[in-house]
């Protein structure tokens, strides 16, 4: 059986900059796949290409057996691939419940059904108590959780999370990790971007490492952390001043 998501030689150029260059990778169904890389490695760009926010300059992207490169975001979503944003994009003037209902409406036309599904999911992700709060009034941690819930409400086969744990404290991170595991156990495949390795290693079945737009390593987490290329890329990063979470 082919993998759920297959990228072949995906490149994305912005003017003279190769944000992604010949990136090939696969995401097997029912796995949690980690995508890591230092600042500016091209992780978000790859997300944008896959989720239809812009077409790749070249390369192919197959999802569930269909070539989706160049599809509009709403079409990609309907095919079963949902993503969150690194910079949260909560609907500020809508309640938490309404935010999630927008996601649920991807699979139903009936408001009652969308509301019921959203309510269930809010309980699952631990946001039920805040259902009637406006999106704008949430903490960053809750906004991230809301985005995740909203994406989940679209009933994706593949959920792509862009730095959902950035800016969370250790306790919240632990909660997020537990939640992501629970999501996978319900049958949703997860592609997880983080730029902090420690967060990602324990939960990933497979890790892909990007640096300067190229894939520099991939494999099981234990192997990847010992890879000299990866160590070099991250050592380089250590000497770059970087403000955690506010990059």
């Amino acid at each position: 059986m082919p993998a759920l998501l297959e990228l072949h030689a995906v490149s994305k150029r912005f003017g003279g900059l190769d944000a992604n260059r010949d990136v090939s990778m696969v995401v097997e169904e029912h796995q949690i796949v980690g995508l890591i890389g230092p600042n500016g490695a091209g992780k978000t760009t790859l997300f944008n290409c896959v989720s239809g926010f812009f077409p790749p300059t070249s390369g192919t992207i197959r999802f569930a057996g269909r070539e989706i490169a160049g599809w509009a975001p709403e079409r990609v979503l309907r095919a079963g691939l949902a993503r969150t944003f690194q910079v949260v994009r909560t609907f500020p003037e809508m309640t938490v419940l309404d935010n999630v209902m927008i996601g649920a409406f991807a699979r139903t036309n009936r408001a009652n059904e969308a509301r019921a599904r959203a309510t269930d999911l809010l309980a699952f992700t631990g946001l039920a108590g805040r259902a009637r709060v406006r999106g704008a009034d949430l903490t960053i941690a809750d906004k991230k959780r809301l985005e995740l819930t909203r994406a989940l409400a679209t009933q994706p086969r593949l959920l792509m999370l862009d730095e959902v744990m950035a800016g969370l404290n250790p306790a919240e991170r632990a909660q997020a990790v537990a939640l992501i595991r629970a999501i996978r156990d319900r049958g949703t495949t997860v592609l997880l971007v983080e730029h902090v390795m420690e967060v990602l290693m324990p939960i990933s079945d497979h890790v892909v490492v990007l640096d300067s737009g190229r894939k520099i390593a991939e494999g099981p987490p234990q192997t990847v952390v010992r890879d000299p290329n990866v160590i070099a890329a991250y050592l380089g990063e250590k000497y770059r001043p970087r403000d955690e979470g506010s990059a």
């Binding site: 909560t90 609907f91 809750d142 800016g167 979470g245």
Partner: protein
């Protein structure tokens, strides 16, 4: 969202009370000028309700809705004048034409961002006005007179079949009341449906909406089609009410501005807002019009401009928000409020996480 559309238990009571008052009104107030003002209030309430579907729910500010109003007025009038088609039939035909026109024209407009969109809508109505002014088929600037329905004695007579009343304004009042109720019902249905949710998501964040599967362009087009159709229905009514139309009375810029202003003053994105706005603004503009008679329309525009600035500075959410604020304050006075809704989580998470 505020408004009786999200009906609280017992929320239908004020609705029933308001409706009964509106039904009884002409029986109590037997005065032509008051009745005229009431007809205009209901007319603008409906037009603002239509505007609100695109401008309020979806956040796409149109300053050209008079174009749809004009299309409605002209469609039924031409059909009546040339082929003796009843305005009751001309009304839905006008609505369909306005909706089709809106979809065709707004398709490119929706590619324009923010202010450019609003400017394009102004240009649209102005161009239509100029076209009609120079179009012989609709008698250009001279305008069109709705032919009288005559009784056996050759005198003008009332006719429900042809939506024409010469004896009294009361039947017109009930017709426009019915149409306004219809507009409100449509707005409520939109607000509660998937369409309403999607439109609000579009207003909040189009990219996020797309990421959740919202076909943004398609939903904006649905919104403008509904908005145009409802506006056109009132256009037909207006033609029958005045029994005369010309491009100026049906499509001028002040009309478009007033429609938007009624909704904005009342509170965008709510069902109650346009009703409140019409109730406050239309009598006011009638008074200034009669007081400043002869000085033309320009002073109206000065008044509207001033109002827009006042709203922007003091009450961006409109009159509806004043009510909400009062209600919230009253609730806050009560010891056990809904404080559990906010502030019970520690403010964790570095601000500005992400790039």
């Amino acid at each position: 969202m505020t408004g009786f559309a999200r009906s609280r238990p017992g929320g239908w009571l004020p609705v029933a009370a308001t409706l009964s008052a509106l039904v009884v009104f002409p029986l109590v107030v037997d005065d032509g000028s008051w009745l005229n003002t009431a007809v205009l209030v209901l007319l603008y309430a409906g037009l603002a309700q239509a505007w609100n579907i695109l401008g309020g729910f979806a956040g796409q500010i149109s300053l050209g809705n008079a174009a749809f109003f004009g299309i409605g007025a002209y469609t039924s009038t031409v059909l009546l004048d040339r082929w003796n088609v009843s305005p009751w039939l001309g009304m839905p035909i006008g609505a369909v034409i306005a909706a089709g026109f809106a979809v065709a024209v707004f398709f490119p407009f929706f590619r324009l961002g923010g202010h450019y969109f609003a400017i394009a809508t102004i240009a649209l109505a102005e161009i239509l006005l100029i076209l009609f002014t120079n179009w012989a088929f609709v008698r250009g600037a001279r305008g069109m007179t709705i032919p009288f329905v005559r009784g056996p004695d050759r005198r003008p007579t009332d006719s429900w079949a042809f939506l024409q009343f010469n004896e009294s304004r009361v039947p017109y009042y009930y017709v426009v009341l019915g149409l306004a109720v219809l507009a409100v019902a449509i707005a409520i249905a939109v607000e509660r449906s998937k369409l309403g949710y999607y439109l609000r998501a579009i207003k909040n964040d189009q990219q996020a909406a797309r990421s959740l599967g919202v076909p943004v362009l398609r939903y904006k087009l649905i919104a403008v089609a509904i908005s145009a159709a409802v506006s056109a229905v009132f256009g037909t009514f207006y033609a029958q009410y005045l029994l005369f139309i010309d491009p100026e009375t049906t499509m001028r810029l002040e009309l478009s501005v007033l429609i938007a202003l009624v909704a904005i003053l009342g509170g965008v994105g709510t069902v109650v807002g346009p009703l409140l706005g019409a109730l406050v603004l239309i009598p006011l503009s009638e008074v200034t019009r009669s007081q400043l008679a002869g000085s033309g329309n320009t002073l109206d525009l000065v008044l509207y401009g001033g109002l827009i600035m006042l709203i922007a500075v003091f009450q961006p959410n409109g009159l509806v928000a004043v009510g909400d604020r009062v209600r919230r304050r009253r609730r806050a006075v009560r010891p056990a409020g809904d404080g559990a809704e906010r502030g019970d989580a520690p403010l964790v998470g570095a601000p500005g996480a992400g790039d």
